[in-house]
Symmetry: C2
Subunit: 133 residues, 2 copies
């Protein structure tokens, strides 16, 4: 069905998987909603969406949805894209972050609108995670 | 509301726009559904989704939906991401392609599943558009 190389796992299965995910590529609407785990394998939340640089086509930030998980109600935590490692066995992303680090991270409530237009907003995210990743 | 530089246009407006689009960044779920125009300003279709390289985070292909437009029923046409130029005035993407070129391009019906897992599939797309872009 598809050209899965040995050891990648996770991408076998139904025809729809062949459409929206391979060893190398993943469809944007499949990334949205994909689970995020910590290093211990605990499910932290899901990817809500991600921010793409219009000019370069490079994904800059993944916005995580931690619905109530951290005791702060539904909230979104933007993370630098490089913080996410795709684990084909889990079928989700793994981040090397613990809950305390996420609790103190830049975030916004569902009702809020972050100012992505202000370069300082992105820098604040980069700075927060910079030393940890 | 946001840090829009002069001459970019199009990104002014409601709070929701501030959330999902700026001069530089655009949210993944905003790209999906965004209109695509030809150089003459004619609306060709919309972006259905896009394929992201899991390792590099680089957007590789945009999958266009030309619902019945080309006389072939609902179909998806994958294009190299570099073929799309974002036009903030139009609030959509512009491609330097005419209908004939799109008619002959690699495409698949809604019921079909392209084999993204086969590197030859991507190469076929790259080769088709390579000389035109």
């Amino acid at each position: 069905m598809q050209d899965v190389t040995a050891g990648t796992g996770g991408t076998t299965g139904s025809g729809s998987v062949a459409t929206d995910e391979t060893d190398r590529l993943i469809a944007s609407n499949k990334v949205e909603g994909t689970a995020v785990y910590d290093r211990q394998g605990e499910r932290l939340g899901t990817v809500y969406n991600f921010m793409v640089d219009k000019r370069s086509g490079q994904v800059a930030y993944a916005v995580m949805s931690f619905g109530g998980f951290l005791g702060v109600g539904g909230s979104y935590h933007p993370l630098p894209w490089r913080a996410l490692t795709y684990d084909t066995d889990k079928g989700g992303y793994v981040v090397d972050l613990d809950k305390d680090r996420l609790r103190g991270a830049p975030s916004y409530a569902e009702s809020e609108t972050p100012n992505w237009g202000d370069p300082a907003y992105g820098r604040r995210i980069d700075d927060y995670y910079g030393s940890a990743l």
